[in-house]
Amino acid sequence: MRDAVARFVHDGDTVVIEGFTHLICFAAGHEIIRQRRRDLTLARLTPDLIYDQMIGAGCARKLVFSWAGNPGVGSLHAFRRAVEAPGTAPLEIEEYSHFGMVARFSAGAARLPFWPLRDYMGTDLPRVNPRISSVTCPYTGEDLATVPALNPDVTIVHAQRADADGNTQIWGLVGVQREAAFASERVIVVVEELVDERLIRSDPNRTAIPGMIVDAVVVEPWGAHPSYAQGYYDRDNDFYVAWEDISRSPDRLTRYLDEFVYGVPDRAAYLEKQPHVARLKAKERWCAGVNYGY
């Protein structure tokens, strides 16, 4: 992870760590904080705790998003402080709805400059975000909303498994990980398990991201904690609840980062400090395979 971040994540980059609740790569976010990257444009549908931590750590210049809350709990207070009292640590924001962000990644993945969608009529969002525009259909003459493509410098995708070439398989919620990866100039895949190419090849319909677009594969078990990995471990909801309190106070946030991010060299050390996460290990609910013969 250290090498992948050192090599592929630079100051000033547009960085995407995607994953909708599921498979959010906290391990990568922490490494970016540890390497003290600055002036990043952070883009994600739901900034979640990981971007709140990165904002709190001073990595971010700008946030591109569609829903900035602590899912099921409350607020992201580092984000709120930066927006509500911008004197201390100004944070530029660029705001869409989920559909708009999904469309931005879809356009990026297809290398089109824009994406059309039926959205935003009657909302105030285009008023505060001039990048939401419109286009006239050449067939019907009707106006459709548009959003511009989002092509990140680097996208980090957490997944259950990949082979050494980065052929990556994901199940459970898939969010916009595939679109974000295809839209990106560089892609880092972080996996729970590195597997033999033969396992990937035994079920090719399960592959979400082909190795041809992947620049680095990092093996980091439990790398999504306190987010989760279907089939591997559950979400650490207690930590999401605790974040409400930690993030409310800049001091407590700093102490958290000192202890769990700056204070550890890597993910293994982070996990050693909290053996109780073992309780989150997933139960077994295996599906059957299918026949690829002919």
Binding site: T21, A68, D119, G175, Q230
Partner: protein, 246 residues
């Protein structure tokens, strides 16, 4: 509120579910009169049958045993924009006279007093779902005459008809509150009081609404939650009271 919202759902409908009370309402409906309700979450889980109370719309319990998991591009393009969602649930920090919802910001956008999470999928649900149900607790701050910011458009966005703005869905047909039910007036698009919960007076409701609330000529009675509904909600669906306390 959860029991009242559940009764609004018809068996077999496709519902775009939010977390919290909407989720409770949908699962209560599934457990009672609407066993074939299709629960769809913006995270991509279709036909979810959560074995525990999901704490977020991306909970793994929504995936295990669901009918389909698809990417979010499919959720928004091929299902929502495609017109397949019959009911959408929305809530918000502010709901106004015309059912506009604000989940973005209290105060001016550039200098917010309180920065809220933003739209998520709410803007497009409000536009595309064939009808939406708003669930919110009454209060003069929560129900101002005009919201500070229109995140999710209601029945007269920017003073115009939804049809003129080419919005496919009918918009918020009802607001289910903790004291009664508001309904959209067909002619004006204004939210008017349509039903009171048992033991609630009209002035209780008016005290929680920031505009001069009109009433239907006859208010419909709302049956209190049944024993079965209460048992399911308290013992099965939310035994820890995570969302019922709201």
């Amino acid at each position: 509120m959860a029991a009242v919202a559940a009764r609004e759902l018809q068996d077999g409908e496709v519902v775009f579910v939010g977390i919290g009370l909407p989720n409770l309402a949908c699962n209560l409906a599934r457990a009672t009169h609407a066993p074939r309700l299709v629960l769809l979450y913006e995270s991509g889980a279709v036909g979810a049958v959560p074995e525990r109370l999901p704490v977020s719309i991306g909970d793994p319990a929504l995936v295990t045993g669901s009918l389909m998991v698809c990417g979010m591009a499919d959720v928004f393009q091929c299902i929502l924009q495609n017109g397949r969602i019959e009911v959408g649930f929305l809530g918000g920090a502010q709901v106004d006279r015309y059912g506009n919802i604000n989940t973005t910001v209290i105060g001016p956008y550039a200098r917010p007093k309180v920065r809220l999470p933003g739209s998520g999928g709410a803007a497009e649900i409000a536009i595309h779902a064939r009808r939406t149900l708003i669930v919110a607790k009454l209060g003069p701050r929560a129900f101002p005459e005009r919201v500070d910011f229109v995140t999710s458009p209601g029945l007269r966005p920017q003073g115009r008809l939804r049809r003129e703005l080419r919005m496919p869905g009918a918009g918020p047909v009802k607001v289910i509150t903790d004291k009664g039910i508001l309904e959209a007036d067909d002619a004006t698009g204004e939210m008017v009081l349509a039903a009171l919960y048992p033991g609630v007076s009209m002035s209780d409701v008016r005290a929680g609404v920031g505009w001069s609330l009109r009433c239907r000529p006859e208010l419909a009675p709302v049956a209190p939650p049944t024993e079965q509904e209460l048992r399911l909600l308290r013992d099965v669906l939310d035994p820890k009271g995570l969302f019922l306390k709201q």
